[in-house]
Amino acid sequence: MSGHSTYEPKSGFTRWLDKRLPIIRMAHDSFVAYPTPRNLNYWYTFGAMLALCLVVQIVTGVVLAMHYVPHINMAFASVQRIDRDVPYGWLIQNIHSVGASMFFLAVYIHMFKGLYYGSYKAPREVLWILGCVIYFLMIATAFLGYSLPWGQMSFWAATVITNLIGALPMIGESIKNWLMGGFSVDQPTLNRFFSLHYLLPFVIAGVVALHVWALHETGQNNPTGVEVKSKADTVPFTPHATIKDLFATALFLILFAVFVFYMPDALGHADNYIPANPLQTPPEIVPEWYLLPFYAILRAFDFNIGPIDSKLAGVLAMFASIGVLFVLPWLDTSRVRSMRYRPAARQFFLIFVVVCLVLGWCGGQNPGRVLAQSGDFTATLRWVEGGAVSARAFSAPSEEQFDETAAGMRETATTEGAAMTMVSRSNATDARMMSVVGGTPQTQTVSARTIEALEEAVQEAKAEIGARAPFFVTERASPMAFTVTRLSQVATFYYFLFFLVLLPLLGLRETPGRVPDTIAKPIGGQTQEAA
C-alpha cells in the first residue's frame, strides 16, 4: 500500500539527508510503517527467510570465490583446500551447499502458499511473475554452482543438461555450444559457469528488489484473499510482522544448523566426492533433490509425439512446467482468491502437492523400476520322458530364410510323429534340431516375483528333472508392470491438468464458500476451522 508517508526525520542530519536522498524514509515506509494484513499466518513468513538465504549465499559465495580455482584440474582440489585448510572454510562451504537446499525448501513453501491463497490473481500478476523469474534464476544459479566443485555429478549433470538444450530445434545446437564454449563440457564450460554463477545471484537480488517494490504497490495478500479495506484490517509491519518473521526465521535457522553441523552431506550425492572423469559415466546421474521433479517430467516422455521425438518432448515439457507458472494468473478463472473458500479446488490443490512430491520421488529412482505388477513372472517347462531322441543338423539358404526353414524342419518332424522338437541355432544360418518320438509329455510351471528369480527357479527345476528330460521347451510370461516411468507419466499428466484444465474450469463451475466481507471481521469461526 503506497499510502501517505508517516516518516518524520528527527535529527538535523536525517532532515538534511531526507531532502537529498529520502532513503531512510523509503526504508521506514517499506519496513516499519508499512501496513500488513493482521491475519497473516506462518506460511507468510517464508519471504523473510528467502531474503536471508540470498544474503547468506552471496556472503558465503564471495568468500568461497576467494579460494576457489575454476580450473578443471584444480577445482576439486581447491574445494578440498577450502574444507581442510581455509580457516572455517568447512563452515562456509557447508553453509553455502546446505544453503542452496534451504533456499529451495523456502521457495517451494513460499510458492505453494501463493498458489493456495491465490496470491497470483489480480492485481498481483506482475508480483507473481517476478517471483517466477526469481525461481527460474535460482534454478539456473544452483545448476551452475553445482558444476563448480567438478565432481562426477557436477560434470555429468552439466553434460546431460547442456545436451538437453541441444535437443531444441534450430537454436538448440548453437546455444549448447555457446554454453559449453566448445563441443563438450570442459575448461571453457567451467570458466563461464563460474562467471555466470557469480553474476546471477546479483541479478536475483535486482529482481527481488522489483518483487518487493511490486509487493508494496499492491499490498500483501492474506489467508482470506480479501483485500485490505480499512486500517482495522492491518497492523504496522514493525513490530508485528517483523517479530513474527524473526521468530519463524529462528526456527528455520535451527533446521539449517542441524544440516550444516550434523548432516552436511545428507542432501548431496556421494559421487560428487569423486573427481570428474569424462571417460567414466556414473551408474546413475541424478540432479540435486530440488530439481528432481523436473527430471521426472523430462524422463516421463519415453515416447515420440508425432514429429517430436521423446527427448525434445521431455525438454519442452520440462520448460513448460515452469512456463505454465508464468501464465497462471490468466488460467485461474475463479473470482474467489483464497482456496480456503474453494472446497473443490482445495482438494485438487492437495492432490497437486502430493503429485509434486511423487514427481520428486520418481526423479530420484531408476525409471525402469517396477512398482507394481499384475502377478508373477512365470515359465512353463515342457519335456518328454522316455521317448526316442534324435538330432539333425540343418542350414538355411540365407539368414532371412532361417525361420521359414526351421518351421519346415519342425513340421516334417511332427508329421513323422515327434512329440516335441527344439531348434538350437549356432549361427546366422546353421542350427541343430532335436526331436523326440514317443514317451510321455510332461509340464511343470515355476513362478517368481522378479525375472532374475524366475531364471534361478528355472535353472533349479531343470537341475531337479535332470536327465529324465532330453531337452526342454520353455515358455515365459511376464506380468503387466507399473514402472517409475509410468508413475511419472501419470503425475506429469496431473501436473499439467491442474493448471491447464482444472483451474480454468473450476473457477467457472464450482460453488465457492462464503467469503468474509473484511479481514478484521471474518464470519464466525470460519478462519479457525480452515487453514
Partner: protein, 280 residues
C-alpha cells in the same frame, strides 16, 4: 472421496520409499564407530593405528593427495601434540592428544612425531641449486606421497584397475565408513583371474587383492592384530581424513543450536507480547 485419494497416494509414496530395491552387492555391515554418534568424536588411538595401516599397507597402491603430513599434527589430528605439566614430576612434557586439563599446542613444524613420519618418506623434487630432479626426505608441508606418478602408471601396476585416491573415500561411497569397513572384511576367498570375490563390492568381484592379513601390521599399543581390527582402524583413519573438522563441527553445532533455541524462545515471548490484544 478426494481426500481419501490423497491420503492413499501419500501412504503409497511412503511405502514405496521403504521398499527400495537392493542392488547386487550386500548391504554394508553396520559397524559401531564412535563418530556415528551426533556428539562423540574420533577414537584417536584408532585413527593413529589406522594411519599406521594406511602407511604400511594401503599406501603402496593408494594415494591420499589432498592430505599433507602437517594435517596429522594439526589440532584435531591424530598426532596433535601438547605441552602439559606432569602432576607427579612437575615437569613440562609433550603428550599426544589434548590433555584433559589443557596444554599448550605444539606447532606442527615442531611436532617430533609428524616430523618423523614425514622425513621417513622420500619425495622427488627439483634440486634448487642445479634444477635437476632429485630425491629428498619429506617435510611436514609435503602432501602425502603418491605411490604412482600418474593414473596410467597406477593402472599398469594393478592389472588395469585404478586404486582410487583415498582422501575422501568415506564421503565418496554410499554407506560411507560402514561400506569401507565391510569391503575390507568382505572377501569371500574366491579368486577369478585377477579379480577377488567380495560380498560388498558392486558386481561381487574387485580387482584389489585382500589387502589385510592377520598380524601384517605390528601394533605398539597391544591392540589385537586381526583383520577386523585393522579394517576398523584404517576406516576410522579414512573417516578422519575425509572429515578432519568433524569434532570442531559437532562442538560448534551444539553452541549454535543452543543459542538459536534460546533466541527462538525469546523471540516467541516477544511475539506474544507484541501481538497481545490484537485479533488475528
Amino acid at each position: 472421496m478426494l481426500r481419501a485419494l490423497t491420503v492413499a497416494a501419500a501412504v503409497f509414496v511412503a511405502a514405496a520409499g521403504v521398499a527400495f530395491a537392493a542392488g547386487e552387492a550386500e548391504h554394508p555391515h553396520d559397524h559401531p564407530f564412535s563418530f556415528d554418534s551426533p556428539i562423540r568424536g574420533y577414537d584417536m588411538a584408532a585413527v593413529q593405528r589406522g594411519f599406521q595401516v594406511y602407511n604400511q599397507v594401503c599406501s603402496t597402491c593408494h594415494s591420499m593427495a589432498h592430505l599433507s603430513y602437517r594435517h596429522l599434527g594439526e589440532e584435531g589430528g591424530p598426532f596433535a601434540a601438547y605441552m602439559a605439566r606432569n602432576h607427579e614430576t612437575g615437569e613440562e612434557e609433550m603428550v599426544v592428544g589434548k590433555p584433559a586439563h589443557g596444554g599448550r599446542f605444539v606447532t606442527v613444524t615442531e611436532n617430533p612425531y609428524v616430523r618423523a613420519i614425514a622425513s621417513a618418506v622420500t619425495i622427488s623434487d627439483i634440486d634448487p641449486a642445479s634444477g635437476q630432479p632429485m630425491d629428498r626426505p619429506g617435510r611436514v608441508s609435503d602432501h602425502f606421497r603418491s605411490p604412482f606418478p600418474n593414473e596410467i602408471a597406477a593402472r599398469a601396476a594393478n592389472g588395469g584397475a585404478y586404486p582410487p585416491d583415498l582422501s575422501v573415500i568415506t564421503s565418496a561411497r554410499h554407506g560411507g565408513a560402514d561400506y569401507i569397513y565391510s569391503l575390507l572384511v568382505g572377501y569371500t576367498g574366491e579368486v577369478d583371474g585377477a579379480l577377488y570375490g567380495n560380498r560388498y563390492f558392486a558386481g561381487g568381484k574387485i580387482a584389489m587383492p585382500p589387502p589385510l592379513a592377520e598380524g601384517a601390521v605390528a601394533y605398539a599399543d597391544g591392540s589385537p592384530t586381526t583383520v577386523e581390527q585393522y579394517a576398523a582402524d584404517v576406516t576410522t583413519f579414512l573417516q578422519w581424513a575425509a572429515d578432519p573438522h568433524m569434532e570442531a563441527r559437532k562442538r560448534m553445532g551444539i553452541i549454535v543450536i543452543s543459542f538459536l533455541l534460546v533466541l527462538a524462545g525469546l523471540l516467541y515471548l516477544a511475539y506474544k507480547q507484541v501481538w497481545r490484544g490484537e485479533s488475528h
